[in-house]
Every structure is written in C-alpha cells, then in structure tokens.
C-alpha cells in the first residue's frame, strides 16, 4: 500500500512538470543594422518582421470559434485572440561607434485582419509640424554608450496592450493617439466608432455597432520591430512566447521551410486612414 503511493506521487509530479507553461524562444532571424546616413545625411531606420509560426486551425478549434461567433454575432471572432499567446520581445542594442548615441525601438505588428505601419499613416495632412503617428509601443529615446551595449524588453503587458491598441485602431477606428495613450490591457470591451476622418474639420466620431468584448479581441500574429538609431548601430532581438492555447508550431520558424502546409496563412490588410476632405 505504501509502495503504491510513491510511484503515484512520482507520476503526478512528472505530469505536472510536463504541463508547465514553458516559454518558446524565437531568435530574430538576423540583427537589424541601421543608422547609416542616407543621401540627405539622415540616419536610416531599420525594420524587421517576424510572422509567428501558428498552426492551422483544427476542426475542433474552428467549431468552438464558430460557436463563439454565433453567440457574439455580428462581431467577428478571430482565430488568434488576446490571451492565446503571451509575447515578450527582448532586445540588445550594440553601438560600435566611439561616440555615444541615441536609439529608439518601436514595436508594431499585425493581427489576422490588419497590419499597422504608422509611417504610412498621416493623421494631419495639412500640418507639417504635427507629431508622427505613434507606433503601438516603445519609440522612447535610449542612451547607448560608445562601444557599448544596452538591453531591454517589451514585456508581456506591453505586447498585450499593443495587440489591443491595434484592434482598437483598426476594427474600432480609434484615433491611434487615443488608443496608444490609454491603458486598455485589462479592458473588457471596446466600442467601435465611425470612420476616422482627419481631413474633415470638426468631424466627430460616433459609436458604430455593438461593443467588441475581450473574448473577441484579435491577438498579434506578426511582430514588427522598427529600429531608429542616430548613428550606425545593430539591434538583436528575441521573441519569447508562452503558448497558452497550444497553437504555435513546434518547429517554430523552421516550419516555414520544412512544413509550410501546417502553418496558418494570414493575409492582413494594410490599415489606412481616409484623409479625404470630402464628407
């Protein structure tokens, strides 16, 4: 009797260990080199995108999603939702120069519906002094010592906030400044608005349709990193993912070449804002 309890305990401990929520690591395919002067003498930014290797949706998952979509109709329910993947992006900047410099790292990305690139979005077409359209996270000046390295990360909270901001900006038609300057990581829902029309003076957005509940918030399926140093520097990064729902392909980026048929294909639209002055 006593002997039976020992293997039982061992099996239980082994099962619990096996079920642990262990992270996956996706190293950036290559370092981003940026900061070289362009023809105008301005430092050029560098950009990299990593499409997350997500498995094709199973019939069971699809059935569950359809069931949720019926419950929430007419709201569309994405395959990859906020909370399915907890993502962290760790980075290291290296400055080979003999002078200290500054650099900014911006996190953008895409969900399965929309890709967000703030450099293509003009919110104040008539105002040359208007601030740049914000990225989803980061873009804070970082001091990098001469011949030195600086490391940091976008935390899981940062990336979750970025995913919700992206959904608010795209499906919710929020002004990007409003979305990124408010904290939404614990939001239970957001109210979609009528189209954003920055070209029309005194235009007011109105609520449009039912609120989108948290269970239908779209999660990130692509991570974009924009690196903006003021002198030549390199950025190495690593994406750490806790796969809560078990939807990541076990081969990670290698699956793109070895088992491409097992990866879900997403074709997000490039998000754009209507800057027409016509109502």
């Amino acid at each position: 009797m006593r002997m039976a309890t020992v293997p039982g305990f061992v099996l239980l401990a082994a099962s619990l260990a096996g079920c642990a929520n262990d992270p996956l690591y996706i190293p950036g395919p290559m370092a981003i080199e940026a900061g070289m002067p362009d023809t105008m003498g301005q430092p050029t930014p560098g950009k990299a995108s990593v499409q997350l290797p997500i498995k094709t949706e199973t019939t069971k998952d699809r059935a569950k999603r359809d069931e949720l979509a019926m419950k929430l109709a007419p709201i569309e329910v994405p395959y990859v939702r906020v909370g399915d993947l907890e993502i962290e992006v760790e980075w290291t900047i290296k400055n080979p120069d003999t002078k200290p410099g500054k650099a900014r790292i911006e996190l953008d990305g895409a969900n399965e519906y929309y890709a967000y690139d703030p450099s293509t979005i003009q919110l104040a077409p008539d105002d040359e002094d208007a601030p740049e359209t914000p990225g989803l996270s980061g873009n804070i000046p970082i001091d990098v010592p001469a011949k030195g390295e600086v490391s940091g990360l976008f935390t899981e909270d940062d990336v979750r906030e970025a995913a919700i901001d992206l959904d608010e900006i795209t499906r919710g038609k929020f002004n990007p400044f409003r979305a990124t300057l408010t904290i939404s990581k614990n939001a239970k829902e957001f109210q979609p608005m009528t189209e954003l029309r920055p070209g029309i003076e005194n235009y007011m957005q109105e609520p449009d349709g039912p609120a989108i509940p948290r269970e239908a918030f779209a999660g990130l399926t692509r991570i974009d990193i924009v690196f903006k140093p003021d002198r030549p520097m390199t950025l190495e990064y690593n994406i750490r993912i806790r796969d809560i729902r078990g939807i990541m392909h076990e081969l990670l980026l290698t699956a793109e070449t070895e088992k491409p048929g097992e990866l879900q294909t997403f074709t997000p639209m490039d998000f754009a804002v209507n800057v027409s002055t016509m109502p």
Partner: protein, 191 residues
Amino acid sequence: MRSAVVFGTLAALCGAAAVSPRAAAARPASVGWFAEGGLGAVKFLPKASADAALGPSLDLHVGYDLFSWLSVGVDLAASSHEATVPPPPEGEWFQLYRGCGDARIAGSFARFGLFVEGGAGIAMISSNVLGRVMITDPGERFSIAFQAGAGVEYQLENRHYAIGVAADGFLLPQFDAIRAIDSRFYLRYTY
C-alpha cells in the same frame, strides 16, 4: 565551495566513526524496497557550461535490493538552470527532467557503504532556449540519457534509514551530447 561541504560532511562522519568505541560494529540495515530523496546541484561540463549555469536539483530514486550487494530501480531527477546564452535572451531559466532505469552495486564496511551505479533512460528539456546555441534542434525536447556514478552511504542506528552523498555523470546525446554532473545529498528509507 559545495565540494568542500561534501568532504567536510564525510570527514565529520569518518571522524565520528573513529572516536566511537563501537565504530567497527556492523549496523543492521533493512534490505528490500527502498526510496531515496536527494537535493543537490547539476553542473554542466564544457562546452555546454558556457550556456547553462549550475542549478539546483531534486532526485527521487525508488528501487529494490535483489541482493544485499545489487539493487535495481528507477531514478527521477529535475534540475533548474539559468540559460547563459549570448543575449538576448537574458536571465531566462530552463528545467531539465530525467528518468532512468538503473542498477546499483554496493558494498558495506561497518556503518559505511559504497556503491557504483549506472543506467539509461530519457531526458526532457522544458524550453528551446538552448536552441540559440544549437544545443537543441527545432522542435527537439527529448533525448536519450545515460548516467553513471558512485556514492557513499552512512547507515543510521534505525535500520530503515541511511544518509549519503552521491554524484552521477550523465550524457544526453540528442542535446548536442551535453555532459553534466549531478551531485546530491540524500536520505534513504528501506522498507
């Protein structure tokens, strides 16, 4: 530092045996089903030692004494390590789980016993963080495990209990043939 503690313990035990007038008297020890629980540390050997730090380990060994000098059993071990791969990532940890069937040949002298053991089984790593330095391949989580080692045991007055120190070297061929030493202090209970 840790080895100094181990040798200090052994020296203290040997010293206690030397000053006792009944030191040479053999102590009765139970034979049969036994269980051992151990705490220790796992240290990777080069070249993996550059990419994974020394980490604490927990060992559980369950077995049966076929004879007083031969036993067979199952050894389960778990250890936790900081990945010291080139950043990023930085400050990340991984766990290594091992399960092996093993055989142990033992001999005793008065209240002390010596043994050698060896076995084979399977090992699992909790994440792919060592993939950055090519120790694991994409999607690889399991490896065959080979281990061998030795230990010293001290039989307590209660015939069911013994304490000891042991060290096992292990090899994981699928994980770029990494090698490590698992050393532990343990308590044994024989039913």
